[in-house]
């Protein structure tokens, strides 16, 4: 557990970057710090491993005041993912990953093995091991940055915009991979981002900071979206927050309709509007318009615009499936990807109306602890 106790940072030039911050990052959870540029996220993060010393207040690591620890030794026990990776340009990728174990004096063979293991863990090809950072793409460098932070298996990780320098597709990939990793590792993580979507996706709890380094609200993502504390938070979490909040609501049992399907490679004499095409294992492939078919269905005939939702997924995914299907019938599959039926948008909406929103908490105020940091959520 990491606890900020009335932490203030005033730089020599008078800038107050962090102001009386009280915050607790629970063990085994991801706590996200989010807020507009210059609101003090990086400063807050770097005070934890004492890259920056607080002006007043204290930060406790599992109950120990960090001011009482030796800075260099403490940092070896905290994984730090630096904004834009910050790799050592003169060292190879394996050497970069092995930086902390080397400082800890592990033997060479163990460092090598651990580094190679992590390389694969973060989804990099072992062949990049002997390359130098300048020979890697931005996304690959960020993976190395994450691997380096994980190398000595620290219980605590500080991550400063770890996925910022990559395009949205790779970014999403890195986020998903990291959430999967965290599922196994259960690290105590403080994660900084200025992107509210990333905050909501990654966070077990989210702390919204306003410029001047003050905490505006601390809550779990679903609560933040449904009950922003004030105009600033409401504005910051964005316009379609109502829609996005559905990501955190599991679908109830939706009224599914059975769907007549067509196997890939089959022809049909039906002429009704849209038909769903499935493969041999009954997995949805796309929609076709029979009137346009001139024989058996081929890949090229498929309309792939529709998304597919898992029955165990969120209401947002179910609604999106209905809205995006050209037939307006949302495709629902089971966990193995097999078609189980379709659902229409108004049926999902009815389910949404029946579902409970997170309750407003009586003691809700800026800075109050998250209602239930343990609340599960499925990343969308």
């Amino acid at each position: 557990m990491i606890r900020f106790d009335r932490v203030t940072k005033r730089f020599p030039d008078g800038t107050v970057a962090v102001d009386e911050l009280d915050l607790t990052a629970p063990t085994g959870k991801i706590t996200v710090l989010v807020g507009p540029s210059g609101c003090g996220k990086t400063t807050s993060l770097r005070m934890v491993n004492r890259m920056i010393e607080p002006t007043s207040g204290a930060i406790y690591l599992d109950g120990t005041d960090t001011a009482d620890l030796k800075a260099a030794e403490m940092r070896r026990g905290i994984g730090y993912v630096i904004q834009h990776a910050g790799l050592f340009p003169h060292r190879t990728i394996v050497e970069n990953i092995g930086a902390v174990p080397t400082l800890l004096g592990w033997d060479k063979k163990r460092i090598q093995e651990r580094s190679m293991e992590l390389l694969e863990r973060v989804g990099l090809d072992p062949s990049v091991a002997r390359r130098y950072p300048s020979q890697l793409s931005g996304g690959q460098q960020q993976r190395v940055g994450v691997a380096r932070a994980l190398a000595a298996d620290p219980p605590v990780m500080l991550m400063d915009e770890p996925f910022s320098a990559v395009d949205p597709v790779v970014r999403e990939q890195l986020q998903d991979e990291f959430l999967r990793l965290q599922d196994e590792l259960d690290k105590t993580i403080i994660f900084v981002t200025h992107d509210i979507d990333e905050a909501i996706k990654m966070g077990d709890q989210v702390a919204v900071l306003r410029v001047g380094g003050r905490l505006a609200q601390m809550a779990d993502p679903a609560y933040l979206l449904t009950h922003p504390a004030d105009d600033f938070v409401a504005d910051f979490v964005g316009r379609d927050r109502g829609y996005r909040a559905l990501s955190f609501q599991a679908s109830p049992r939706l009224p599914l309709h059975s769907e007549r399907t067509l196997l890939m490679g089959e022809a049909t004499d039906r002429t009704d509007e849209w038909i769903l095409v499935v493969d041999d294992e009954h997995r949805p492939q796309g929609w076709v318009e029979p009137s346009r078919l001139s024989g058996p269905v081929t890949e090229a005939d498929l309309q792939r615009g529709g998304t597919v939702a898992r029955a165990s997924g969120s209401l947002r995914a179910a609604l999106d499936a209905a809205l995006s299907a050209p037939s307006r019938r949302g495709v629902i599959v089971d966990d193995s990807g097999e078609l189980i039926g379709t659902v229409r948008a108004h049926e999902v909406l009815a389910a949404i109306e029946d579902a409970d929103r997170p309750e407003l908490q009586d003691d809700d105020q800026a800075g109050s602890p998250a209602p239930d940091p343990a609340a599960e959520h499925t990343p969308s």
Binding site: M51, A72, R76, Y80, I82, G86, P89, R91
Partner: protein
């Protein structure tokens, strides 16, 4: 003329003896090495400190402006002033070495300073972030990253010292400078030209050796050179 220079350079008699080419070459090399090592011992720690701390930058400026002082004038002045204070042979050795060291300091100092100052702040930050102590940050990250500029400073200094060490002959020290001076004095221009050629050849050879050292000492990650297997890797991924 050219013919006779080549003859002089190739004849075994001119290479042997206490004033032969071999001896002079060795003297020249020895003085130059002593000078460069001394300059490095003084200028590298200073340059690293200035670059690392970002303080006392005036020292670099000062050293660079000292380059304007005419070396030969300084050498005579030093020999006149310091010479009488020291007895024995050292009366000539110390002033000329001191002058050459002064000459070599600015490029080494600037190289070390610029090298450390140019280290990517993100790398330095990462070094602290993974838990290196200040000295480890210096030796494991700042110095290796500063190496390209530091080594080119040393190379520049070495070239300059080898070229200028000829003047040491004026105050009675040996080295290849003797051929130039004696040649001029006795009107033996073959020797003068041959000596000059030898100095140039020595400078180029030493520079070539240093270039090789640089090639092996500097991490390929800094020079952007391919690591060899990259092309293969790229095509298989």
């Amino acid at each position: 003329m050219i013919q006779s220079i080549i003859e002089w350079l190739l004849s075994p008699e001119s290479w042997t003896g206490s004033s032969g080419i071999a001896t002079r070459l060795w003297e020249h090399l020895l003085y130059s090495a002593i000078v460069v090592v001394l300059a490095c011992v003084i200028a590298i720690p200073l340059g690293l400190y200035i670059g690392h701390a970002g303080r006392a930058n005036w020292a670099v400026t000062l050293a660079n402006s000292a380059r304007a002082v005419p070396t030969l004038g300084l050498l005579f002045a030093m020999t006149l002033v310091v010479g009488p204070m020291i007895s024995s042979e050292l009366a000539f050795v110390i002033p000329s070495i001191a002058v050459l060291v002064l000459l070599a300091i600015p490029p080494v100092l600037s190289g070390a300073y610029a090298g450390v100052a140019s280290v990517d702040p993100a790398a330095r930050d990462a070094a602290r972030g993974v838990g290196m102590r200040p000295l480890q940050v210096l030796t494991r990250v700042e110095v290796p990253c500063a190496l390209p500029l530091l080594l080119s400073g040393i190379r520049a200094a070495t070239l300059q010292v080898i070229a200028t060490a000829t003047i040491a002959a004026y105050v009675g020290l040996g080295g290849l400078g003797r051929f130039l001076i004696d040649g001029l004095a006795s009107g033996d221009y073959v020797r003068t030209a041959g000596g000059a050629l030898l100095v140039a050849a020595l400078a180029l050879t030493v520079d070539g050796v240093l270039a090789l050292v640089e090639r092996y000492a500097v991490s390929p990650g800094l020079t952007g050179k391919d690591v060899g297997d990259t092309a293969v890797v790229a095509s298989t991924t």
